[in-house]
Symmetry: C2
Subunit: 169 residues, 2 copies
């Protein structure tokens, strides 16, 4: 079962290695991971998507809590949250195919972010399934390259989302 | 100096920990990282942004090449590439502020992806500086939470972008 964890950590060297090491020692393959600084430059936020049963993930969360650099962990799985990712697709579209590619872009409310005579780079955001759908739609034109962010997730509403209250540790 | 690396790796347990460990042992703090599967489910692609001088990054790249799970590394720094990230902002906007928040969203071509009576979740994509600008614009309304993806990057054009040719290893 896909589990989505939101982990606040101190932004310092080695934290990512320690967190990733914890998952790998338990045999969990991280499906996607995004880490970036937050509004407080001393704190980073990781969104980690892993496939695993709830019991084992709970064990990993307990281990994570023991890391001194981990400030807060939220398992968003089963709660009401928004999760989205972004992808860039490079499509081999010259003048002949461009109009048709632009139709796909419009339908999926994606954006063209780079233009070359024989290629376009398209930015798409959304759920995993929406990004998979636009990939399918672009495939016939020839996808030369794909880059994806990991998914990021945020609890809906103010109450559930105020993760900075520090009640989890 | 900010360096942007695009690293193709075999999608298996422990790879992220090994890659992250390599950076941390050299004292590099990873500023942002995105990892996700590619069109080939056996291969993941990491976009890593680190702050470091070119010489040391080259050393790290050499070490990365030695990891059997690393398929290909591209240092995009100094080349022509597109780099973008995504952020979600939860803003404490009730009925009174909503119209004004929507103006900011329109100006920055962002999207509202969740609606609650007293909060909105806004999705923004773009360069680091654009995302910083929208954050500034939203701050007066009260930002309750921010999540960012790491940046992802893609070389412009077809020639420079065909990274799957396998010439780097």
């Amino acid at each position: 079962m896909k589990q989505t964890l939101s982990v606040m950590v101190v932004n310092q060297t080695g934290v990512l290695a320690r967190v990733a090491g914890l998952f790998s020692r338990r045999g969990f393959n991280i499906e996607s991971l995004s880490v970036s600084t937050t509004e407080d430059k001393n704190i980073s936020r990781m969104t980690i998507v892993v496939d695993g049963d709830e019991g084992t993930i709970e064990q990993v969360m307990k281990q994570l809590h023991k890391l001194i650099e981990v400030i807060k962990i939220n398992n968003l799985t089963g709660t009401s949250y928004v999760d989205r990712g972004m992808a860039l697709f490079k499509v081999a579209a010259g003048a002949a195919e461009r109009a048709e590619v632009m139709q796909v872009v419009t339908i999926f409310r994606a954006n063209i972010v780079d233009f070359c005579p024989n290629s376009l780079i398209i930015e798409a955001t959304g759920s995993e399934s929406k990004i998979a759908a636009i990939e399918e739609a672009l495939r016939p034109f020839g996808i030369k390259e794909v880059v994806r962010t990991g998914e990021i997730a945020m609890a809906r509403g103010i109450k559930a989302g105020s993760k900075k209250g520090g009640d989890a540790k």
